[in-house]
Symmetry: C2
């Protein structure tokens, strides 16, 4: 089985965007606020939104299940106030839940969190609990920079975040560390802010003893870990200079990397320096890069082809494609068992 651990609902029905426009218009002029949170989106509209896109690509590429969450750039935690984020998050998570309910063989849900700059992450616990215990979500996306490129909240290793981590541990769900859109003109979203977020989070973890305090807390760092595997020697060296234990002991029981790296040399590097136990297959389709690579004739984000091309054993590939995801997202197993019957 091939599990893609990183897919976003980037093909939402237009009515969701219309709602968001009204919601944000309402910040400036209350009279424009949407009158209801019932979007009037039919099941057919949801089916149509994924059938020609994610579902079609799953079939074409021979992948089975996508761990599916709301559009990352759409979270936009920096926009409006906490109440804006809470309302929008609930709606986006409910949309993802509907997709996964309509296509239980193809999608398993992961939630966004109602974060807001300067607001304590413990305020996200209720939504995480609702999604996991009532709606069958298997994880969450955690934004290390709710300020959207201004990085004003404490690092992920600060106790500011601990109440949320306690709930993640209790529910046994991991978080993918994923920034949202950038409102800082210095940072292009998918070309800079995303990768910077990944690199930054890893170094925050490295310089902390977070996983001594939370030994079962698990994070997936997407986009192949940002700059980290390319600079693995730098990180090993920095850790050694700081008298830290080897990274395998210090971080790799808790930190995982996905395979959203859109060329073979990058994936080769990733799998050479990071243990296969710490790599989860992912493509982020339909996502940041949508074209066909003229050098290969295939989509840049058809990452299965890169894994297939690696000189790894079938057993190692099975870990990347399936086994590691089942281990990192334990609640995924119930979904996959149901699927099998």
């Amino acid at each position: 089985m091939i599990i893609d651990c990183h897919g976003h609902y980037t093909t939402e029905p237009p009515k969701l965007h219309a709602f968001r426009d009204k919601q944000l218009a309402g910040l400036a002029d209350k009279s424009r606020r949407p009158l209801t949170t019932n979007l009037g989106i039919s099941d057919d509209e949801i089916r149509d939104s994924v059938q020609g896109a994610q579902l079609k690509l799953q079939k074409e590429r021979g992948t089975d299940v996508t761990i599916f969450s709301p559009r990352a750039a759409g979270m936009a935690h920096h926009v409006g106030k906490e109440a804006t984020s809470v309302e929008w998050t609930t709606i986006c998570n409910d949309m993802v839940h509907r997709v996964c309910t309509l296509f239980p063989n193809n999608f398993v849900p992961v939630c966004q969190l109602p974060q807001s700059p300067g607001v304590q992450p413990k305020n996200c616990i209720a939504e995480l609990e609702r999604c996991v215990t009532q709606l069958g979500f298997v994880g969450c996306n955690l934004n290390p920079d709710p300020a959207g490129g201004y990085w004003c909240d404490p690092p992920l290793t600060d106790e500011w975040w601990f109440p949320l981590y306690e709930k993640m541990v209790e529910l046994d769900v991991p978080a993918m560390v994923h920034v949202s859109s950038s409102c800082n003109p210095c940072f292009h979203g998918t070309g800079a802010h995303y990768l910077n977020g990944d690199t930054t989070a890893f170094m925050q973890f490295l310089t902390s003893d977070l996983f001594k305090r939370f030994p079962t807390l698990r994070f997936i760092i997407p986009h192949g870990g940002g700059a980290v595997p390319y600079h693995w020697g730098r990180y090993r060296g920095l850790a050694q200079d700081m008298k830290l234990p080897p990274l395998s002991e210090h971080l790799l029981k808790n930190v995982y990397f996905d395979t959203c790296v859109y060329h073979l040399p990058g994936i080769e590097l990733l799998t050479r320096v990071i243990p296969v136990e710490n790599i989860l297959f992912a493509s982020e389709m339909v996502g940041a890069v949508r074209g066909i690579d003229p050098e290969t004739g295939h989509h840049f984000d058809d990452t299965r082809r890169y894994i297939d091309a690696l000189p790894l054993s079938a057993e190692d590939k099975a870990k990347i494609f399936e086994g590691n995801a089942r281990r990192v997202y334990p609640r995924l197993n119930a979904h996959l068992d149901r699927r099998a019957h």
Copy 2:
């Protein structure tokens, strides 16, 4: 000849740090300001500061010349006001000039700039001109984020920076894009902020037509280009989705990468995806990572060994070690010619 294009004066005599302490103490209490900018540092103190460090390592590693600039983290443009930065920059550049004058066969100077958050970069022109025309400097380090991790100034592609670029073009000197220390607790300096700065600058260049306006402007992106080569497929794909020309045409006549990547798999990736014409040898010693890699028994930052191990032709290696640096820093040639005689 082996030219290391990226070395900082990280072993400064203690008197320089004592001056800096007084200078910054003077911001809080004017009575503590240093009475003079004459640091009282003798030539012997300068010789001692590099003889057991950079000079010794050059010999041990078999490299010849280092393009040498003030400590990057020490620039700290975010500290104090513009006048603080101007005074400190002059002193640091003068120190580097003294090192290079004492050891003209081993060091060629590059300057820091008196940047300050919110202050127009054109105010740096006088110091750039002084260093290049009076003191023989061959380039500068340009901080894309003088705010030290808060990224409050415009992107490098904004006309805010153009007067400085005009002077760089006129003087025919390149800039290494190099952030300084981070005062944002989210960002570790050498493990996150440095690499993020590299990635960010590249994407700023990619999304602009800066090099149409300045066809001879040249930038070196250090630390192997941050996350860029590892995600080269992503960047090719993003550019293609934006209908931009291939990156080789769009950027690679103006943007270069150094080899400060501290393990062989990283250097292999770099040289597989980036044309050899765009790669400049560098080690950044004595710098971010000072230990010995237990996997190799050699210093992490002994990057010459990685290049030596590559399956490249002697001609290609000569480009990386020497030819490209001579082309990107044309004023270097006069120094090297003098050295030869």
